[in-house]
Subunit: 413 residues, 2 copies
């Protein structure tokens, strides 16, 4: 019997997340078991508001799919909505809407919060004996999902970070003055993306000179000591720091800046600004140039720097989620299992959501160097294959062309 | 008679400046009139310190040239040194060093300050009857040199700005909340690069919604009024502002932030932060999300986003400067003269430095819209050809490979 499918996106944007829905859509459109392909706009919040569009109507050519693959952020929008823990009636509401739209296939494309939603929905459908499958498609630049070797979105963000750090280094050495550039990189609890800055060295530069991850406590005096020594020996240095680094007491460095202001005001900006002030204070060097750079939302949205490998894997995760659903699988997420680094080899698998939801994968401590200020060659071998390949073939006149769904065209039943 | 050549770089970094020295080097190495090709490290300051390397020795293959073309910032370093106006003996010093190294061809690759240096040197050599030619090779992301249609470096920076603004827009619309992203773009006196953000619309997004250039006075109340209205109608908007915008009194907006702080402290950060606070204060909207983003040094160093057309023209400017020098020309800069927009057509010319040095070209007022908050289609037609083409063909394993001269190998005469 033909049933409709619904897909939605959640969590933070990424350059690669739309490749996953492109893969899911392409597989679904080719199946005679799936009727309409619907998309909820703004995740579960949009779904509950019946903000649902008909993707089968809006994707009209293979060219649309190609453009969608190369479009960053979330083509279906996102939401911060979490299923309430104490209101079981929410499941009845969701089931009601799914039935209204005759949906038998539900896909949620996001991080560990989203996987929790999918897992609970799947359990509820089974309990009620409903013939609806719910599957997860992984996505996060943070690379912190368990059971999968890495997550779609990470490779592209890593490529942006590594490339940009290398370019910033060349920029900073043009003047023969002592200087430090402190680059602040996303990843509140997991340092994967900050660690990826180490790949900058593959371009032929010595940067970054220091790398700090949230996996180990951060000692500000040790940092300023190391930075000062390196500035004296190298002239110009780059430090890559995770926004989530914490001191021994577990306090975010970004929050300790407040103490520096005699009037009790919090220091504007994040951890890079706090460290910039600390280096200035620690070094008695009037010529010292300091610069705090936040990659900000560009690190998750810079599709022009996407990794072709990442887009390919991201597409496959979406494609295979639909494939698995058609085979009757539910309560699973598509995972990537690596079998080799060089040459890189991996296969796709399905892992039960119970083992994934609400868990976080950190950078293994053995991949952080003994001084806690760098990563090891093991990490480099892990990360290198993920940033490979350019994805600019869809550019027209030097600029990308983006696909956008018309969010105003709500499905009328 | 064979004479040696010296080339140096000055001013701020750019993704395309090394393509110019690559062109100059390649032409020089092919000439039997030029002996050694020297490079001064860190501009005129390095030259005066005899920090001079032998480029003919360090460039060993066409592959080195190709890598150099794609390497951002300044492969020969830069300096902030300006020739003193009141010390004519500096010219004798310079001439002495040139003779010491048997240099007959002098090239300076930079902006309008650098062209002033070249012009004065050239006049001095002529006055002394010295057989040394001095030529300028244009470079600045600011695009503010006169006599040339545009400057090498501008197209690549423009491509980065337009692409990044489009990507940031897609990032900012994923949540259905009112929001404004204010992007601060380089260009203290000329708004060319900020204007280039308008090209983001060619990707299929409506951003930026507001564009402010330093060419016209900035009215903060008019800005907050327009921004509030747009946020209410569009939901999420992007404003692109030049770091150099000034109010009617000629005061930099970035400096007016101080007034906002009751304790008399200057607001940290630049103009984007000032405008962010202003919008917050003007709109009584607790859900409003604001974000101030500075493209910082990435806009001038992001070679991964360089325009192939820009690199090609940049290379040609260097190549033709050496060609002209070999024909005995001096006291000129290579210029680009446009003859058509679509298809884009341009030829290279030589313009006397006296008409270029210390002059600045602003965005024509007729290319700024009547409301002073956007640019016209004329500007778009001007800018579009300059951002064309990708320049990622030299990437290995997804990452660029950079060429670096060994600055420690000083020439021993």
């Amino acid at each position: 019997m033909t049933k409709n499918m619904l897909i939605a996106q959640s969590g933070g944007p990424s350059s690669a997340i739309n490749a996953s829905i492109a893969g899911a859509i392409e597989r679904a459109l080719a199946s005679d078991k799936i009727g309409r392909v619907y998309g909820a706009v703004n995740g579960m919040q949009g779904f509950l508001d019946r903000h649902i569009i008909d993707i089968s109507e809006q994707i009209t050519s293979p060219d649309d799919i190609e453009m969608l693959i190369h479009t960053p952020a979330q083509a279906l929008g996102s939401s911060r909505y979490k299923l309430p823990k104490d209101d079981p009636s929410i499941f009845d509401t969701i089931l009601g809407i799914l039935k209204e739209y005759e949906i038998g296939y539900f896909f949620y494309n996001g991080g560990n919060d989203s996987m929790d939603t999918v897992s609970r929905l799947s359990a509820y459908f089974r309990e009620k004996g409903e013939d609806i499958v719910a599957l997860g498609i992984p996505k996060t630049i943070d690379n912190d999902l368990v059971e999968t070797d890495h997550t779609p979105g990470f490779g592209s963000a890593a490529r942006y970070v590594a490339t940009s750090v290398a370019e910033l280094y060349l920029d900073t050495i043009v003047y023969p003055l002592p200087s430090i550039v402190i680059v602040e990189i996303m990843g509140r609890n997991a340092g994967w993306l900050t660690a990826a800055s180490a790949l900058a060295r593959d371009t032929g530069v010595p940067a970054p000179h220091l790398i700090y991850l949230p996996e180990v406590p951060f000692d500000i005096d040790d940092f300023t000591g190391k930075a000062a020594k390196l500035i004296r020996s190298e002239g110009q240095i780059i430090a890559a720091v995770s926004e989530g680094i914490r001191n021994e007491a577990g306090q975010y460095l970004a929050d300790t800046g407040a103490a520096a202001d005699a009037f009790g005001h919090k220091t504007l900006g994040g951890v890079a600004n706090v460290l910039e002030s600390a280096v200035k204070a620690a070094m008695n060097e009037p010529k010292l140039k300091t610069r705090a750079i936040q990659f900000n939302t560009l690190q998750r949205a810079a599709a022009h720097c996407a990794s072709a490998k990442d887009l390919e894997e991201s597409y496959q995760c979406g494609y295979r989620a639909v494939e698995a659903a058609l085979e009757g699988r539910t309560d699973v997420m598509v995972t990537i299992k690596r079998t080799g680094d060089e040459p890189y080899r991996a296969y796709y698998d399905l892992s039960p959501l119970a083992g994934i939801a609400n868990k976080e994968k950190s950078v293994p401590l053995e991949w952080i160097d003994a001084e806690n200020a760098d990563v090891t060659e093991e990490f480099m071998r892990y990360a290198r294959p993920l940033v490979r390949g350019e994805a600019t073939e869809r550019f027209v006149g030097g600029l990308p062309r983006f696909f956008r769904f018309d969010w105003s065209k709500n499905v009328k039943l």
